[in-house]
């Protein structure tokens, strides 16, 4: 499906993470353009990580190539639709594009957008709407039948690279001859077309572990893989978005890869909270899962190669686990560590 991704004013920053995920990887949509007038004329992949992907950044919907749908590519902190995006969505409906949105604010309940889409016979997909209760699962304990190691990529903050690291781990395990399956937990992974996954943010508390268990068990039964790698949400020690506990429990995680950004001064969206040392998150992950962590993956934000290398060496010694930057170094040390521990 050919898609235009709307990310005006946010491509390349932490709020643009849905767009970044769709540019990086996708089995469901073929991204033909990203809309962000502040970066118009550049290649989306090049802005993201220096790798050209042939996806142009265009200044407006008018300048975008023909497509079948428009995806809202921002994940705002409150989950609300930025007001300046509204006229673009209405114009997209006028051009006959279906709309896809992963925000909490629902297009299907919008008093302008919903009737217009209905009148034109176009679909509105609200990826983050809470599913009906009949479609959700309670935890049963059937997770105990999963005989391969379940690995979770958790973090000390949100918007830190957990999904990307999880994808790279799956690819790295496959390159090493292991069968590995990815289980997504966010709306971006869903929009990327992940075969196994759920959108954790939208699930009522009582169903969290059950929904995770259900997807991990599905992945196990269908694929009988050597490893299942689960994307994390939130941050272990994040004061606003504590996350990872429900994944450790629901998926009976055998090894946590902890993602950390040592050069990030304050937490994503919360300038009043400083980023702390990863020690506390490591200890909590180990106590919760009952296993030593499987490695630390670094996000190099605000840190140069030399400094990052020193930090990695220090963590390696202190925590006695593989440490690497997945984007600069690749994930081979983490993959070798997982295979060494679980084979």
């Amino acid at each position: 499906v050919r898609a235009v991704v709307l990310c005006e004013g946010h491509f390349g920053d932490a709020n643009g993470k849905t767009a970044h995920g769709l540019v990086r990887y996708g089995e469901r949509f073929e991204v033909v353009a990203v809309i962000d007038s502040t970066l118009a004329g550049r290649d989306a992949g090049e802005v993201l990580d220096g790798t050209r992907r042939g996806i142009p950044i265009v200044p407006s919907l008018d300048a975008a190539p023909i497509a079948e749908c428009l995806i809202v590519g921002v994940a705002t902190d409150g989950g609300r639709l930025p007001p300046e995006y509204r006229p673009v969505l209405l114009a997209a409906l006028d051009r006959g594009l279906h709309l896809v949105c992963g925000l909490h604010e629902k297009l299907n309940e919008d008093p302008e957008i919903a009737p217009k889409a209905r009148a034109k016979g176009l679909t509105l997909e609200d990826a983050r709407a809470t599913p009906p209760i009949e479609e959700m699962h309670f935890f049963t304990g059937e997770i105990d039948e999963v005989a391969c190691p379940t690995i979770a990529v958790l973090g000390t903050d949100s918007a830190i690279g957990k999904r990307t690291t999880a994808r790279l781990l799956v690819q790295g395990l496959r390159d090493a001859g292991k069968k590995a399956v990815f289980v997504g937990t966010g709306q971006t992974a869903r929009l990327q077309g992940a075969k196994y996954g759920l959108i954790l943010d939208r699930i009522p508390n009582d169903f969290l572990t059950g929904e995770i268990e259900h997807q991990v068990v599905r992945a196990w039964r269908d694929e009988k893989p050597d490893f299942i790698v689960i994307e994390g949400q939130g941050g272990i020690t994040h004061p606003a978005y504590p996350g990872g506990y429900e994944i450790i429990c629901g998926a009976r995680v055998k090894g946590v890869v902890l993602m950390h950004a040592p050069g990030r001064p304050t937490l994503d969206g919360f300038p009043q909270y400083t980023m702390e040392d990863p020690e506390r998150a490591v200890r909590i992950c180990e106590l919760m899962s009952g296993h030593p962590i499987a490695g630390i993956a670094l996000n190099h934000e605000n840190v140069d190669h030399a400094v990052l290398g020193r930090i990695a060496a220090a963590y390696r010694q202190r925590f006695d686990v593989p440490v690497c930057d997945p984007l600069w170094d690749g994930v081979k040390p983490l993959v070798d560590g997982l295979i060494g521990r679980f084979s």
Copy 2:
């Protein structure tokens, strides 16, 4: 409001906890009878804890005194309505009773019950339905304005006595001359008429800390108390229902009172999971909150006075905190500990 509580087959067991809460305490409903044919003729308070409360247990709806509403008094593991309760609910509507239910399965969506209530002009209150997004709050950090200690009663299991202990702590603090406010987090506390609270189970993951913060900040602004005591949900180390993290973070908890049942062999609803020693839960609470725990409250299930006394003494020495059984001993040691630490 005069209410009959339907608890057929479950009064006195772990699934009856909504009924137990309503018999113990309530500002909203006056319970005139509990329906449970297996215990008909006895006094509900006496069955619960040996204290007569003048609430008869009756064998059927026909035998109940006149009331205005019927409350479903069970909290089943799946949150589904037991099939044998359906004819009783339909009969209650025939008698002109409003219905209240805290299960996930919604009376308002039931194909038999909903149209019948509408036809008769009776209300159906689904306490556990997810609120509309406009009514929910994201975490903002305004919790930092709360200047009194926030205390959470968390547990090593569900259905272990967290709400009752929290209520007793509030009463004990008041008896000691302190202004204390209770913040509920379950449907039972809501049905008891708690002025501050939310129903955590029904809140989508992304709003958990924000909804907790909002209620704690409301309690602080309205009451300016000396202590805020928050009821916990789930269990810190419960493999199916890990809970407490969102409360520790959203309420910036300064002291955790950990509830534990040393004589409970396996976890509530999960006979395959043995109850573990509280050590791991204590350590996780301390790491998450950044404070030593404030005390341990024991549930004496399956343990006699002598054994419980020895366990309490051992925990007291091992964890260096007040330890008591709130129902047998009262909560004075915990109250004295809180006042000592925070005054």
